[in-house]
Each structure stands twice: as structure tokens, then as C-alpha cells.
Amino acid sequence: MNMLNKLHAVLWSGLDGRITRGTRTLAKRVSRRGFVSRLGTLLVGTGALPLLPVVRDAAAATGIPEMGDPQSCDYWRYCAFGGNLCSCCGGTHTSCPPGTELSPVTWVGTCRNPADGKHYLISYNDCCGKEPCGRCYCHRTEGDKPIYYPSKSNNILWCFGTDSHAYHCTVALVLSETDSPG
């Protein structure tokens, strides 16, 4: 059990048994190389787990088949995610929380949808202009590249082209189907 898992266990032990699922994502360090966390997103890993046993409706505007919980870091679209899940911050997996601004410039990942076995190109758009939401921190590095190759790097605050580059949270939009993991 690593340090963050221990921390988590101590902090929430006994309070609510349901809060223990998802702890494995805690092993993911606080990152964007620490920058998002630096600005306050260190409420590590497992995120604001659902309080109620409802399956959230993640039906995409695109009409592609969906399964999974957009408030969980395990959700398939988040395979190259880095930051706070907007779905825990007053937004959804495709919409920014009130009063923030959707960044028009993004990094991308290629994720496999378990519902149809196909791969999709995912755009990770930061929602900008407020301090970090601080909930449901999620950091996955599938296909992540170094910073000098920005389009595939989630270690950058992608608040470009917005009024403020303060980072709040991130959404995951399906752009297109793609044949292979890129």
C-alpha cells in the first residue's frame, strides 16, 4: 500500500464503506508534473466518489454506446486524462462548470470504448478561469509524451485562447472514431 493509499485509508476509514472503491487510482501521483496539484488539485486520486448507487447516464451526444461512470477516473474516455474531472465540479464529462470557459485548444488521446471495442480520438479540454476545483483528481498517462511534444502531453495547463489561464477542471470529448491506438 503506497503512501497516498495509506493516507486515504486513515482519513476516511470507517466513515463510509462505499468510499473505498476506486482507491487504486490513488497510486497515480498528483501531477501534470505537479502543476495542477501545485495550484490546489491535490485532493488525491480517487475523487469524489458517487454517493448513490446510480449508474450515471453518460450517453454521448454522438450516439456511441457508453458504459461506465464519468465521475470515476476509470471511465474509458479518461485514458490520457490529467486533472480534475469536471463531472465532480458542477459540470459533466462534456460540459464545464458554471462560470468557467472551455479551452478551444487541447491535447488528445486515443481511448478504447469498452461498450463497442472501438477506439476513439478524445479531446481533453480544460475549463478555465477559476481556481482548481480540487475534486476527483485523475491522472493517466496512456500515450502521454514529454512537454516538448505538446499535443500529446497532459503536463501542460491547456488554458489557451481563454480569458484567463487559471485551471479549474477538464472534460473529455469524443472527436472521432479511429482505427488504432495512436
Partner: protein
């Protein structure tokens, strides 16, 4: 190097698709079967906060708004490093935020403001500059409405005063010196109460222009050295409930020009006091005037432990002046708050990172725990 930036003008779907096509043509990672309409992001709006909504404010997470029924976060209102409370105006659809900014973060030119955030978009729509005197005390009662049109802001330099802002006309009205008395505890009409170091409370009336029109003091009913009242007062319809370090409960009722202070009763029996039981915490007690229930964080400790967190929650009825339930907390908590409606929820904050227990106030039964409400428990402000 293959650049792969997505640049799409906001809400300009056509632009996105054009760029997307360009992008996909560049995307070397695999051929693309693009039949799909790409998803466009959007930005949510927020409904008017319900009776079971609250905001957490503290170290990080400052301004995060939650719906205690669903357990979901609804949004975040921007606060400054020095903001310790906000004021919700349901009628105007505004959240007023007292804020202090420096041009260089922690140094440079200082600007003190009341920022108007519209509830729907949780975004700043106006600001009124106020004297650079906003108090830096972490306390709920640094901001409160006074009457229908004014907001009072508590100043400390360390001289104590109150700045008045007109939220209808969006301008600074003036400053009222309140030497020796602190905070803004609103009363019906254009009137507010303050607690004073000489053991009294002070009531100040504003005229319809927001200027002071009357001021008077209660009798002295506590001794600052012997047993001061906490600086946290609890709202009732025609006054405020005060609690002393030793657990004495005073009801202050303001009726016309009369300030009545009730004979105190005690949260602790003599036996409990002998066992060392006392109130304590950062936000150590709370009150619902609909059900006349008072909830206190209790711990066992000596004098000067008025900020120690509670190990138990005790619930009282202020009419019968008797305790209802008590329960033990898994972890000590310094923060308790209750919703203001007739079917109240009780919020107990603790942990690092912090979470908030949502309980049925009538019974104390735990309904659920909202995780990640902030890094430290900070304060909970019921809406």
C-alpha cells in the same frame, strides 16, 4: 514535428469541423473512420441554491457549492485569498463576495472589493470598490445583508468599522465607525447587531440611504475575562442566540428600541461541567430557528480549550432548554452547520482532505458523506 492543436472558435461548429478535418489528416497514428459528429463542449449554468445547499470555504476548495441532498458539487464561486464568507441574494440572483487582491499576489497595490457574481453563471458581473480595510478574520459574519438593499462589510485596521454597499445602485455608501464592537449580525429592518468587548451588544440602524440613524447598547451581560460569549451568533427571527465559552446560552431579542437579553441557561449540567465537557471548535455550534434546535460540538477539556474540536455532537431544544440526542464522532470535528429550513440537514466537517457528513438534524442519522469538500474542513456556510 507534427503539430496537432485543436483550435476551434467557441461554439463555432463549422470552424471546428474544418480544423478537425485538417487535424485528422495530420493524425499519423492510424487511418480514421470518421463518420461521427464530434462532440462540442459546453458550459453549465446553475439553478438558485436550494435550502439544502451549502458552500465550503477554507484552505483550498474555497467557494465550492454543494447540494447536500444529492451530494453533488454544483459549482464554485470565485473568492480571494482573504475572503471568509459570502452573501447569497436569492431575489437578485447574486452572490456577493468581499475580496482583497494585491497586484503582485502577496504584495504590490491592494484593491478591496465587493464582487457581484450572478448565480446563474457563477461569474463576476460587477464590482464595487470599498475602503482597503476589509477584516482578515476567518469568520462568517464579516459580510451580511442589512435590509433589502445594503450589504455590510466588516473592517478591521485594527480599528473596527463597517462599510456599507448599496447593491441596488451598486455603489459604496459609506463607513460606520464601530469602535469596540465587531461583526454584522442583521436584524429585521435596516438594522444589525454587533458584539462588544465590554460585555454588551450594540444595535445600529441605517436610514433609507444606508447611513447610520441610530445606535444603542444592551446592558452588560457577560465579562470578557470571566466568561466571554463566542464571536459566533445564531440567527433567530427577532434577534440572535449567543453562547459563552462555559456554555451559557443567551437569547438577544430586539424589539423596537428595546434590546432584551434573556437569563442564560447552560448547555452543560453541573455534573457534565465537572467532567470537563465544553463547547469548542472553529465553527463550534449552529442553530435552526424553525425547529428551535441548537447543535454544539462538545469535547472534554479545561479552560482556554474553546477552539478544540468536538468529539461529540449534542443537540438541544432552546425552548425546553434540554438536550435531545448526543452522538460520538469518529474523528474530532471543529465545524458544524445546520440548514435553515423546517426539515433541516446537519453538516459536520472534518478530515484532511476534508469531507462533510450530511445528517438528518432531527435524529442525527448519517445520510451520506460528501468527500473532497476542501483540503481542510474550513467553514461551512449554509445557503
Amino acid at each position: 514535428m507534427r503539430t496537432l492543436f485543436l483550435r476551434f472558435p467557441r461554439q463555432a461548429r463549422r470552424g471546428l469541423l474544418a480544423i478537425l478535418t485538417f487535424l485528422l489528416s495530420l493524425h499519423a497514428a492510424g487511418s480514421v473512420a470518421a463518420e461521427l459528429e464530434p462532440e462540442l463542449g459546453s458550459v453549465e449554468t446553475m439553478e438558485t441554491p436550494g435550502a439544502h445547499w451549502f458552500m465550503t470555504i477554507g484552505f483550498m476548495g474555497g467557494g465550492n457549492i454543494f447540494d447536500a441532498d444529492s451530494g453533488e458539487m454544483k459549482g464554485r464561486v470565485r473568492v480571494s485569498d482573504y475572503t471568509s464568507a459570502v452573501s447569497l441574494d436569492r431575489d437578485r440572483g447574486m452572490i456577493y463576495v468581499p475580496a482583497t487582491f494585491y497586484s503582485r499576489g502577496t504584495y504590490g497595490e491592494r484593491t478591496d472589493l465587493l464582487v457581484f457574481n450572478d448565480v446563474e453563471n457563477l461569474d463576476a458581473v460587477a464590482e464595487v470598490e470599498v475602503p482597503k480595510k476589509l477584516a482578515v478574520v476567518f469568520h462568517r459574519a464579516v459580510i451580511n445583508p442589512i435590509g433589502e438593499r445594503f450589504i455590510g462589510l466588516y473592517n478591521m485596521t485594527p480599528a473596527m468599522s463597517v462599510s456599507i454597499v448599496d447593491v441596488e445602485n451598486r455603489n459604496f455608501v459609506g463607513e460606520i465607525s464601530t469602535a469596540g464592537c465587531g461583526f454584522i449580525y442583521p436584524l429585521p429592518g435596516r438594522r444589525f447587531m454587533q458584539i462588544c468587548g465590554d460585555g454588551t451588544v450594540q444595535v445600529i440602524d441605517l436610514n433609507e440611504d444606508g447611513e447610520e440613524s441610530a445606535r444603542r447598547r444592551s446592558r452588560a451581560f457577560f465579562d470578557i475575562d470571566e466568561d466571554p460569549v463566542f464571536d459566533l451568533a445564531l440567527a433567530k427571527k427577532d434577534g440572535w442566540v449567543l453562547v459563552s465559552f462555559e456554555g451559557k446560552v443567551f437569547e438577544v431579542t430586539v424589539d423596537g428600541r428595546n434590546i432584551d437579553v434573556s437569563r442564560p441557561w447552560s448547555l452543560v449540567t453541573e455534573e457534565q461541567a465537572a467532567e470537563g465537557w465544553r463547547v469548542g471548535g472553529d465553527q463550534p455550534f449552529t442553530y435552526n430557528d424553525e425547529t428551535r434546535q441548537l447543535f454544539a460540538l462538545m469535547h472534554q477539556g479545561g479552560p482556554d480549550t474553546h477552539e478544540d474540536p468536538g468529539t461529540e455532537v449534542w443537540a438541544f431544544n432552546v425552548d425546553t432548554q434540554r438536550r435531545g440526542y448526543r452522538f460520538e464522532l469518529e474523528e474530532p470535528s471543529g465545524v458544524i452547520e445546520v440548514s435553515r429550513d423546517a426539515d433541516p440537514l446537519l453538516y459536520v466537517g472534518s478530515g484532511f482532505p476534508a469531507s462533510v457528513q450530511v445528517r438528518r438534524a432531527n435524529t442525527g442519522r448519517l445520510l451520506h458523506v460528501i468527500p473532497e469538500t476542501g483540503l481542510t474542513a474550513g467553514h461551512i456556510q449554509a445557503f
